[in-house]
Symmetry: C4
Subunit: 237 residues, 4 copies
């Protein structure tokens, strides 16, 4: 039954617990309705990640029904939760883990305001300092891609590689976020919705005032290195 | 007292419990205020359905005060709850059950954003993939109809018959949704408000990007057959 | 100490409890922030009403700190709560009770969307059936009036006398609602915000479709006489 | 360990508890997401203030991890919480305490609607009586300033000195509020978001009706002197 050795099994158990609990942040922050949205986390030291099952109520999510997958998105048989289907977005998460080794967590939601920008295929302009801090500039739009092959994963990776932003708005679809850990990716999902909402209402009232690029650069650099108690734990892109 | 035989009585008891509990989803998802909104469910194997009483607080809803009706919307006398008046929308629910045998549940709300589209008599255009998944295209507008005869029920049935959508926005009134089960109809009520809100804000910021029809078709087909753990339980329209 | 005879004292105690509890509906329905908003209720059979103290946290409201006033808005001395100042809107409530004997409850809030219409001095047009049901047509604007004399109370009474609506939007200020009971007035406060929000978003997306006057009349008549379990308890204007 | 004498230590303990608890008002009023936002309070009788640590979850805030600083924003060593970094906005709070001796509390958030006005560098016009009551007129915009020196603090002080408003919208950033106490500053943070939201929606629907200046003056004077149970406890600007 224990197929990965004791050290990896400990890491899997920790990530199962973390991923199950982080889903509560999606509901607490009003990022999801019904069974939508998903969080995954890479198992450190192994080519594995943990993701939510498909179409299960948020109230029923628990460490033991999280699903363990390899980096092709294949469910590892005879592990807890393996009797269920994983999130229908599993292939996109797997593609990100295969192609972005620095990524430890991935989140997808259809949060209202971020998805509204995605339906216009419009990047969110960086007009508030919190965006500069957190995302280092505009939040980019990814290509239109539908489920069924690697096109969503490829669109995420192509858009975010070499970009400061940890969030991409997939056109007509919604936000995907990445992070050094699953918690860091959840933070990005919370923040992208917050700035999408603020800038939506800002612009609906009149012309936005841009932030000079050098101020954006300065804010981003400071925030990545100074904010919080352990800034070194965040994804340094 | 037990007028329907033991098997039907068991089914009635189960549907009473389900309908009472599903009303909590309306409040949890902010679809209703005060005593507005209603959920009903067909009793499998009988020409009966269960619906909420009229004008009762959500906190006071319980299996024993749900009301049992026949498919003409007449309250079955001497059953629990029969001393109260059923929802003022009972005739519309009954009309749907009489004319759409595949429907197992009906929901009605005045949720803010869906009702806003209804006040403009404007269908919600399918510009986000979640809409393609769940509704297979635009959410249609039904006719203006007022309470008092079969005109609301007829408007729902005429609009949704042969349509992929499980939701109709009755003009100047609000959404009605149907499903294979009451829970499936509640899901549709949650999702129609979610997409009504997202597309409202999307369009208020500029031009929407349409989704190609073949992508809509592909998303709808996949979602109806693949998503979740038991897709075969959902209404296949 | 008991200055009003046993029957009136029982009625006062009941209204104190009702008014204290109804304030929780204002917060539950997001109609107020901080210590804003107030509910009052007439004591049946006496020229008295009960109202909230000024500037006290919602969490601290209780039957014993509600304040008993006569119909001039003067606090009845040596009664529970009389050591505190009553709501700064007490004079407006008193004016309504003096001049509209059919009114049993008054509510005032600064709820977001109703106040937004008030800041434009614009009546809410009746474009959704729930408005026709509940208010019988448009929600009217009252005059601009500032605190300090009877002008707010007079504005409420002049606007609502002979009008179907139980809600008035006082210009640049916010909604006041009346009812046959305090609970009925709270319901009107909940509903006016709900329709103010829905019609705000409806119109921001394009042209509204009007409801024919005869349909408005028909909906209003039916709702006042048929809806709920005890329609006769509601204010028949 | 006790470096300030018993009387000041008692005051420090009281302010630690107050500041820790007041952060719950930021989340309860939906003014912050994740770990954003901060409240500080001056220690009466000493050149000290208490502020939140940087990047810590709201659920983990407690009196013992609040951080004690001098009026230059330097953490007082060997006091509870001193092992952590204080809020990244500490320098701005310190600047306010050094330069505005009447200020007992400072709050900063990125609340959605106030920040939307800040992204347009647009003052909120005084079109609702609650704004006249609470802020005495328009809510002003402060200069664009980035973290790293005294420019944020200076911008707050220059904007609010001689102004009735206890709130300033720092351009492209968000609101800072001041008060006679930390609780008074939190109230201002709650109220500025409430009026920012109301006026945003008011204007998006059409032309605003101004309030005559003499009515604004009259409302402000009354509210500062009459409202609530202990108006003399509020900041008299």
């Amino acid at each position: 039954m224990s197929t990965f050795g004791p050290q990896i099994e400990v890491a899997i158990a920790r990530i199962r617990t973390e991923i199950a609990h982080l889903h509560a942040e999606l509901t607490a922050n009003n990022l999801v309705v019904w069974t939508g949205g998903n969080v995954s986390g890479r198992v450190p030291g192994a080519d594995l990640f943990v993701i939510k099952p498909s179409g299960v109520d948020y109230a029923d999510l628990a460490p033991e029904n999280m699903i363990l997958c390899d980096l092709d998105g294949t469910v590892i048989p005879e592990t807890p939760g393996a009797e269920r289907a994983p999130s229908s977005d599993t292939a996109a998460h797997a593609y990100v883990y295969r192609n972005m080794p620095e990524v430890g967590g991935v989140v997808h939601t259809h949060s209202t305001y971020a998805t509204a920008w995605a339906a216009r295929a419009e990047a969110i302009p960086c007009v508030i300092t919190a965006m500069a801090d957190e995302f280092g500039g505009d939040i980019p739009i990814g290509p239109f891609a539908i489920i069924g092959d690697d096109s969503i994963g490829r669109g995420i990776v192509e858009t975010l590689t070499g970009h400061r932003s940890r969030a991409v708005l997939m056109q007509n679809h919604g936000p995907f976020t990445i992070g050094s850990t699953a918690r860091d990716a959840v933070k990005a999902a919370v923040m992208v919705e917050d700035v999408a909402r603020t800038v939506q209402f800002a612009r609906s009232g009149g012309a936005l005032v841009p932030i000079p690029q050098e101020a954006i650069d300065s804010l981003y650099m400071r925030y990545q290195n100074v904010y919080g108690q352990t800034p070194q734990g965040e994804l340094q892109k």
